[in-house]
Symmetry: C2
Subunit: 203 residues, 2 copies
């Protein structure tokens, strides 16, 4: 079934709704013989380019509703959620680590990505800290010193920059943003539409 | 079953997602012995108070995605949709007519509201025009001349103003915005959560 085109999943590790979707998208895709390409990016750059902002830094009624909806949507989906004390936060260290790991071991990179999301949204850890990212990586079996050097390499910094540029060029404006055969879906709440799309090949 | 508190449905007649929810909310509520109070308001005032804007007047990637998502969400829900040529547009005439009708005949007001939404989002009619609103009202059995006078009355203008003020005071920041026993749900895509909430009395 691997001849079907992969699904692209664009996200920032600091997005609550991207975390929720990250807990479901691979299993859903697998049911339809699809793989998912994960693309961590930096929403700060995306938002700046579009003159937008994180939900919790928008006007007060929307920020308050969003806080409530993050937790309720997690309960609705049966996924643990604890809003981080530090939020929003910078995620370039985690994103760079992901791309370096992915170049060596796709499955390990995926385990690392899940561990980062859960560290932030379950265990309230500050994943903007380089040491925290290294500790998370070590917990899934990555050589800490090797990763510490790798994430500082020009190649890895350039890779992340290219991913953000690509995201901007295809119209990604927030996260999670999923593209299936050219069709974009924004938000964890589009999972039912994604499932219908995969079932029917469009609708 | 009428002893359960009614559900409040806040909307602007110009909101595509409010139109989609309007086609489902009464039937869903009725399955749980609930009535729905419809509250047409003016999103222009709500957006101005919060420094926000309609989706299609936000940055280009979000505007483009929204146009695609309006139509796709309608197909997903099995509801006819044709994006209006004039959009967004002013809806105070329709909203005032709704409140006047509601004071005389609740069921007639509901038929009128559905007719306004469908005139705009199926038949591409310009419901910002007072004559169009009167024609829609006449089509569901309202006396056109009586309505034409009523929507100009200070009492009806004040009623709409009060509804907008109430919406602002409880944190309504967009549409559709549904409140069930104090719990707010924003967006037609929250219908599954609304159903779960009604089933479980919270989750």
């Amino acid at each position: 079934m691997d001849d079907k085109a992969p699904i692209d999943f664009w996200f920032d590790f600091s997005s609550p709704y991207a975390y929720l979707l990250s807990e479901r998208i691979d299993d859903l895709a697998a049911r339809f013989g699809r793989k998912v390409r994960w693309h961590p990016i930096l929403l700060g750059i995306i938002f700046k380019a579009n003159g937008s902002a994180p939900l919790t830094l928008q006007h007060a009624p929307k920020a308050a509703y969003s806080m409530r909806d993050f937790a309720r949507s997690a309960r609705f989906m049966g996924i643990p959620y604890r809003h981080p004390d530090k939020f929003p936060l910078a995620t370039q260290n985690a994103a760079r680590a992901y791309y370096w790991l992915h170049g060596r071991d796709c499955a390990l990179a995926r385990r690392f990505a899940h561990a980062v999301f859960r560290a932030l949204f379950v265990d309230n850890r500050d994943v903007s800290e380089p040491d925290t990212v290294l500790a998370i990586a070590a917990s899934v079996g990555v050589d800490r010193d090797e990763l510490a050097a790798a994430v500082q390499s020009p190649e890895i910094k350039e890779r992340l920059k290219q991913e953000v540029d690509t995201a901007l060029s295809i119209g990604v404006f927030g996260a999670p943003y999923v593209v299936i055969d050219g069709e974009p879906f924004f938000g964890a709440d589009r999972l039912p539409q994604i499932e219908r799309w995969l079932t029917s090949g469009g609708f």
